[in-house]
């Protein structure tokens, strides 16, 4: 039998600091000092937690990662196995997830790309993360430590917060309970079978402070892996700088394939490919990835997306080309490559990219003046700009929660959460 994962989503309607941590009727109360003590690290010269609510007149600066609080109900110590806590297979048993609150890390060190998030006004309207409560971690590094040590400590602190908060909901009746299991799909009465769909997801692990981990092992240099979709959803995969782990925990492609498994398709499985920086390696890895899809997952169809900047479009093109050679129908999901004119931000032009979904477009909006800033980072794409606003900028690679590289877009992500205006 395959893995069976149950995710119980518990809706959080408000978050506040209190004398003790508990959850009652959707209201989450946090004992601030207790949480700070659990998150403390020698790598931090200061550590603060701030609560930010939807609709608040505030702008977060330097948003580094956003994670959904989750816990393994039967073994909380293995909630992010290999990364935080015990090593144990993810993707089975019962996981409790809080919906409507996220743990948000700010990044004070030098980075070339930093996101911001407005909780009210026009920029909030085009971000699904503005609909969540944020438990914001603002930690300063001890002078002289290297970036990697700090990154590691920050990630441990964030995952600690995730587990501590989600633990409070283990006994709570969930608002939604989902089962994820790749059950075998029998042939129809006439012997016909549904097409088998493999999902090849390309993620970039480029260097120490910009990479992903799978069960705590760095993605740098790994070859394509056949992975169970539940492992990706259930805490085996996290980012360390670069993107928001929330998008993996709630991978919309996996959700979609599961929702149609046995109905109009047979979800065959997932290939996790590390985006390479050298063209020859891209060629090798996409060859291996497509081989896994074809010969191990017996795929008739491949859906491929990427996270790691536009050069990973080359992986997508190579995957589509190799699929075409093998008679597999491939579709690539690409955001922000066709906003003003078709293909205006395409890094790759390839005739085999003949079935492309444009998952999100870029908008230029005016970020208004806000009452409060959190995080004192220099935002590289906002040089010479008064960070308090107003300023007019493209949302692309700036506004957290507008879109994900993997295919999310604010009109369809987290639609069950209602936006609030302060």
């Amino acid at each position: 039998m395959g893995k069976r994962l149950q995710i119980d989503f518990v809706e959080i309607k408000s978050v506040a600091f209190a004398e003790k941590s508990y959850l009652e009727n959707g209201a989450l109360y946090i004992d601030k000092q207790e949480l700070l003590d659990k998150m403390q690290s020698d790598m931090f010269s200061s550590l603060q937690i701030e609560l930010v609510a939807p609709g608040e007149d505030v702008r977060l600066l330097g948003v580094h990662d956003i994670t959904q609080p989750r816990v393994k109900a039967d073994e909380p110590e293995a909630s992010f196995p290999g990364i935080w806590g015990n090593v144990k297979p993810a993707g089975e048993g019962r996981t409790v997830a809080l919906r409507g609150v996220v743990v948000t890390e700010l990044y004070p060190l030098k980075a070339n790309l930093k996101y911001i998030l407005d909780m009210s006004g026009p920029a909030a309207e085009v971000s699904h993360f503005s609909r969540h409560y944020h438990v914001v971690i603002n930690a300063s590094p001890v002078a002289g430590i290297d970036d990697v040590a700090y990154c590691k400590a920050l990630k441990q602190a964030a995952l600690t917060a995730c587990v501590c908060l989600a633990r409070l909901a283990i006994e709570t009746v969930p608002s939604e309970s989902k089962i994820y299991e790749l059950t075998p799909v029998p042939p129809a009465a006439d012997g016909s079978r549904l097409p088998r769909v493999a999902y090849i997801t390309n993620h970039l692990a480029a260097f120490d402070t910009m990479q992903f981990f799978y069960y705590g092992i760095s993605g740098q240099g790994i070859l394509p892996l056949l992975v169970h979709p539940n492992d990706l959803l259930d805490g085996a995969f996290i980012y360390r700088y670069f993107y928001f782990t929330y998008y993996i925990q709630n991978d919309t492609v996996i959700y979609e394939l599961y929702s149609r498994h046995g109905l109009d398709l047979d979800f065959a499985g997932v290939v996790l490919n590390n985006g390479q920086t050298v063209t020859k390696n891209k060629d090798v890895c996409t060859m291996v990835a497509v081989d896994l899809a074809k010969n191990h997952l017996q795929a008739d169809i491949v859906i491929t997306n990427k996270c790691g900047m536009h050069h990973l479009q080359l992986e997508q093109a190579m995957i589509c080309e190799k699929c075409a050679e093998l008679g597999i129908a491939a579709v690539a999901i690409m955001p922000t490559v066709s906003s003003e004119k078709p293909g205006d931000l395409l890094a790759v032009v390839n005739p085999h990219l003949d079935a492309v979904v444009h998952s999100a477009y870029v908008e230029t909006i005016t970020f208004p003046r806000v009452a409060r800033l959190i995080g004192d980072s220099e935002i590289p794409s906002l040089l010479g700009v008064d960070l308090q606003g107003p300023f007019t900028k493209s949302t692309n690679l700036l506004l957290a929660g507008n879109l994900s590289e993997l295919g999310d877009f604010y009109p369809t992500t987290d639609t069950e959460l209602i936006r609030k205006e302060g």
Binding site: V197, L265, D300, A329, S338, P342, V357, Y361
Partner: protein
């Protein structure tokens, strides 16, 4: 069941409206609630499917010289007629008329989100400007075969109206990429991807949402003098800027390029430079900027006489996630400056 006739709005200039030729090119916008000039041919070809219910007419000078003001006025007049389809021209090889046809077709498509088509000769200046913003059917360079041209336009327009899958321009007869495809963003990208994949697998028709652009091939230019007499410049898209980033260059989606002096420098000192580029690990460049902009090596080659001279300025931007349009603009402007600097050859370093 009798199908409802499509309401078609047609745009033409003063000449085809028989108001006058060049002498009447300044005439302002007028509207007639019927088919006019080529609109009558349009009606014939549409037959039972549709009918021109309004013709918007404007003098070529009036619109071409005031695009920003007049085009929105045209869009309002088109919208008033509650059209199902908009057709402009065709403009053949007429410069100002072609520009107007492209501009109004693009604006109507973008703002009213209805099928909108025009027809122009491939070398009409309107094609260059608007073939990525509007469907422009490639037609003859004069009105001699207007019937054939309008029928091509009508055939394609009806495909759009009927929401049939639209193939590449080479199959469908339109020039360039056509406009950004209309996408229903209220359906998640994941769902659209799975739907498209199933359509592709079963051999059902489907529409890609990102038609691949057809980039022009640019042949490399030939050096016209011996290398030892050539002036060589360094150009980079790796984002090297002087310390302090005086021009506030952004590290992604560049809006400009920088030009910085290297006069009298034998090499670039690490303490004088920084990198504004978010797409690669620039630690090695910070350690030694010459590894991105190789002033040290070129200066040596200059001394050795392998090259004539190293140009006194280097040109820099961050290429990462910068639009094709900006890249093209930077390229043209940098090339003009290189010419001003009497540069013969360029070494372009990328990351």
């Amino acid at each position: 069941m009798v199908e409802k006739k499509l309401r078609v709005v047609h745009y033409i200039n003063q000449f085809y409206a028989q108001i006058g030729g060049e002498e009447a090119a300044d005439v302002g916008i007028s509207v007639r609630e019927e088919a006019v000039g080529p609109g009558q041919l349009l009606n014939q070809l549409l037959g039972e499917r549709g009918e021109v219910v309004r013709t918007v007419i404007c003098g070529d000078n009036h619109i071409a010289e005031n695009l920003e003001i007049v085009v929105p006025q045209v869009v309002v007049l088109v919208n008033e007629a509650e059209p199902d389809l908009f057709i402009a021209g065709p403009g053949f090889n007429a410069g100002r008329y072609g520009l107007a046809c492209g501009a109004v077709t693009a604006a109507v498509y973008k703002q009213l989100k209805i099928p909108s088509v025009t027809g122009l000769y491939a070398e009409n200046p309107g094609v260059d400007l608007y073939s990525g913003l509007a469907y422009i059917i490639g037609i003859h360079n004069s009105a001699r075969r207007m019937g054939e041209d309008i029928s091509k336009i009508v055939r394609f327009a009806l495909k759009l109206v009927d929401s049939e899958p639209i193939g590449y321009g080479s199959e469908e007869g339109y020039l360039g990429t056509g406009p950004v495809r209309s996408v229903d963003y209220s359906v998640s990208g994941a769902k659209r991807a799975v739907n498209m994949a199933l359509d592709k697998f079963y051999g059902r028709p489907f529409n890609t949402e990102v038609p691949m652009p057809q980039h022009e091939l640019i042949p490399p230019s030939q050096l016209t003098k011996p290398l030892k007499k050539a002036k060589v410049a360094l150009v980079s898209d790796g984002g090297l800027v002087p310390k302090g980033n005086p021009d506030q260059m952004v590290p992604v989606n560049s809006q400009k390029f920088g030009v910085y002096s290297i006069t009298g420098k034998d090499s670039l000192a690490a303490e004088d430079y920084e990198v504004r580029h978010q797409g690669y690990n620039n630690a090695f460049v910070l350690e030694n900027p010459n590894r991105l902009v190789p002033v040290d090596v070129l200066r040596r080659l200059e001394k050795e006489g392998l090259i004539g001279k190293l140009a006194d300025r280097f040109y820099t931007t961050a290429g990462v996630m910068t639009s094709m349009e900006n890249c093209k603009k930077f390229g043209q402007e940098i090339a003009a400056l290189l010419r001003e600097d009497q540069v013969d050859a360029v070494i372009l370093t990328s990351t």
